[in-house]
């Protein structure tokens, strides 16, 4: 159907109007507000001790949560796809659970486990381990919310590549680890990389869950998103905007990496990978499908 000219312009107007008012104008506005008085104020705001500590702590979250969820994700995907077991569908369901849980509920759940009167809290306190209002609790929150990504991105790739090459390697005498490092991992690497990018992005931006378990103590348990919220509430708008811009730029980088990673995954598998579909949808063409 080729819509008539008025219909076409009408639809365009509606689409652009909505996107403009909801997405482009606010995002443009926050960039304008941040750099209104030049580069100085945002750079100063981001180099204050609190901001630097928030950046460090956010990176610590990434450094602990992402490797754990990546190792778990690849191992779990291998078991789900390569081994038949009655419990597989249950494990699969549980993996998707974090996506159905509000971040605030994640925070509450950890509070109930590790708080003073929680299931593990008192024992941990005896051992001298502080989980709540400290970084271990925040790491647990980050792991919870970002757990599904690597599994979800790796499973379809593993299904796609099949087992022929692995079996060949096995027949030729390769042991389990050799097969994994030389055959399986190279074949699934873009799927895994894609999952890792998503995991990092989620950990960087998590707010709701971390806000409950951290207590949001300035210079101690404040990640970047918490820093932004606190700065805004204390009327330090420049710091809030600067922090928001840093996170927004990281989000844009994520989008960029996703589209590159998607294309790589597509190229290396010849087509129909779910991880590759973003590239399909961004280019709006039928190539390769």
């Amino acid at each position: 159907m080729t819509p008539t000219a008025p219909a076409k312009w009408g639809l365009r107007g509606l689409a652009f109007g909505y996107l403009g008012l909801l997405l482009l104008a606010p995002v443009g506005m926050i960039f304008y507000k941040t750099f209104e008085h030049g580069l100085g104020p945002p750079v100063d705001a981001m180099t204050s001790p609190e901001a630097l500590h928030a950046i460090q702590l956010t990176l610590l979250m990434v450094a602990v949560a992402v490797p754990l969820n990546t190792i778990f994700g690849v191992g779990c995907a291998l078991l789900l796809v390569r081994r038949r077991w009655w419990g597989n569908s249950i494990v699969d369901g549980i993996i998707n659970l974090p996506f159905a849980v509000s971040p605030i509920v994640v925070g509450l759940s950890l509070y109930l486990l590790y708080g003073n009167t929680g299931w593990f809290g008192p024992t941990m306190a005896e051992w001298g381990i502080q989980v709540l209002f400290s970084w271990p609790g925040m790491v647990l929150a980050s792991i919870f919310v970002s757990l599904p990504f690597v599994v979800r991105e790796t499973v379809p790739v593993l299904q796609e590549i099949g087992t022929e090459q692995e079996q060949a390697a096995s027949t030729l005498g390769a042991n389990g680890w050799q097969t994994f490092w030389r055959i399986t991992l190279p074949a699934i690497r873009w799927g895994v990389a894609y999952g890792v990018v998503l995991t990092v992005a989620r950990v960087l931006g998590e707010f709701g869950a971390v806000t409950i378990v951290s207590g949001s103590i300035s210079g101690e348990t404040e990640t970047m998103p918490l820093f932004v919220a606190k700065a805004f509430e204390q009327f330090q708008e420049e710091a809030a905007y600067a922090g928001a811009i840093v996170l927004a730029l990281l989000a844009l980088t994520t989008l960029l990496l996703m589209s590159v990673g998607g294309r790589k995954a597509k190229a290396s598998s010849g087509g129909s990978l779910p991880a590759a579909e973003l590239a399909v949808s961004t280019s709006n063409t039928k190539e390769g499908s």
Binding site: M1, P3, R12, L14, A15, F16, L22, L23, P26, V27, I30, K33, G75, L79, W85, G87, V91, I94, N96, F99, A100, V101, S102, P103, I104, V105, L108, S109, L112, L113, L140, I143, F144, L147, P148, T163, Q167, T179, L198, A201, R202, G205, F207, I212, P225, A229, F232, A244, L247, A248, A251, L252, T254, L255, P274, E277, L278, S281, T282, N284
Partner: protein
């Protein structure tokens, strides 16, 4: 068309023995996976369910149906319904323009659609506040009102319908439309009779996912809504206020309700995708849904 089998990637039967998994035996690996999932996900959620029932079923019920909890729950559900209705319409239009229209910069606009998913929720809230808050340069201050909830949720859930409809539209058979047009049907009739029915599964799936997400939203709302009980306090904010005032049983009860609603929604989407469509459309829709679910969790999910 109907004769095509679903084009879901083939799941080959997993070999019982055959290839060896690295190092650890399958049993040990399985044990580690189950242990990790239990420690990180199941135990925390079990603690919430346990706490919600710690004072008995009656207390659970009165926590959920208490005035403030009920007001928050109603507000959350009503706002979410309004928002998904708005985004069903605009999401379909945007998907249409992105697939069927040609204009300079289309690739960039298309890439930006995912920004609400990728942007951390607290940044999303702050961003909206700069344009629609007290210092609005266009004189449009909605902060602290219910309109603010709708605006924030519209932003957060914008990509769901677009990204669910887009693949269906790309793969849609244009011959049907051409046939309808050549048989004399006008643009609107063709849309109503041919195009819309083909896109409907995508719209429905997108709406369900967006609804599930909107129910638990927190980060984008706390700065802009003012969090006034009975006025602009949504369920997630209510839960937080209960935690802070020490009423963890009440917070847990409302959490369990939210959690149940979200789980039911996600299961319903999956059932709908498998039964509401057929042929190659099913494969396209299932993959679109899986992708949207992952993407939607980037900036902070529900």
């Amino acid at each position: 068309m109907d004769a095509h089998p679903a084009s879901i990637p083939p799941v080959q039967a997993a070999p019982r023995a055959g290839i060896r998994l690295p190092g650890v035996g399958a049993g040990l690996g399985r044990g580690m996976v189950v242990l990790y999932l239990s420690l990180m996900v199941l135990l925390p959620l079990a603690a919430v369910v346990d706490e919600s029932l710690s004072k008995g079923l009656d207390a659970f019920w009165s926590s959920v149906t208490g005035d403030q909890a009920m007001a928050a729950l109603k507000l959350t559900v009503v706002c979410s319904l309004i928002v998904v209705a708005i985004n069903a319409v605009f999401g379909t239009i945007i998907a249409w323009v992105l697939v069927r229209d040609e204009f300079p910069g289309k690739a960039a606009v298309n890439a930006l659609i995912d920004l609400p998913f990728a942007l951390p929720t607290i940044v999303a809230g702050l961003t909206l506040l700069t344009l629609y808050g007290a210092k609005s340069p266009i004189g449009l201050d909605v902060a602290g009102t219910r309109v603010a909830i709708v605006v924030a949720l519209c932003f957060i859930t914008l990509p769901f319908v677009v990204r669910s409809v887009q693949p269906l539209l790309i793969e849609m058979d244009r011959e049907m439309e051409e046939a309808a047009t050549s048989l004399g049907s006008g643009g609107f009739t063709t849309f109503r009779r041919i195009i819309f029915p083909n896109l409907l599964p995508g719209v429905v799936a997108g709406v369900m996912l967006a609804f599930a997400r909107a129910l638990g939203e927190y980060g984008s709302l706390i700065l802009i809504t003012g969090n006034i009980p009975f006025e602009t306090e949504v369920s997630s904010v209510f839960i937080r206020s209960q935690i802070e005032s020490g009423n963890t049983a009440g917070a847990s009860a409302v959490s369990v309700v939210l959690l149940a609603l979200s789980v039911v929604m996600l299961i319903a989407v999956s059932l709908f995708a498998h039964s509401g469509t057929h042929g190659e459309k099913r494969g396209i829709l299932v993959r679109a849904i899986n992708r949207v679910i992952s993407r939607s969790q980037l900036g902070g999910g529900s």
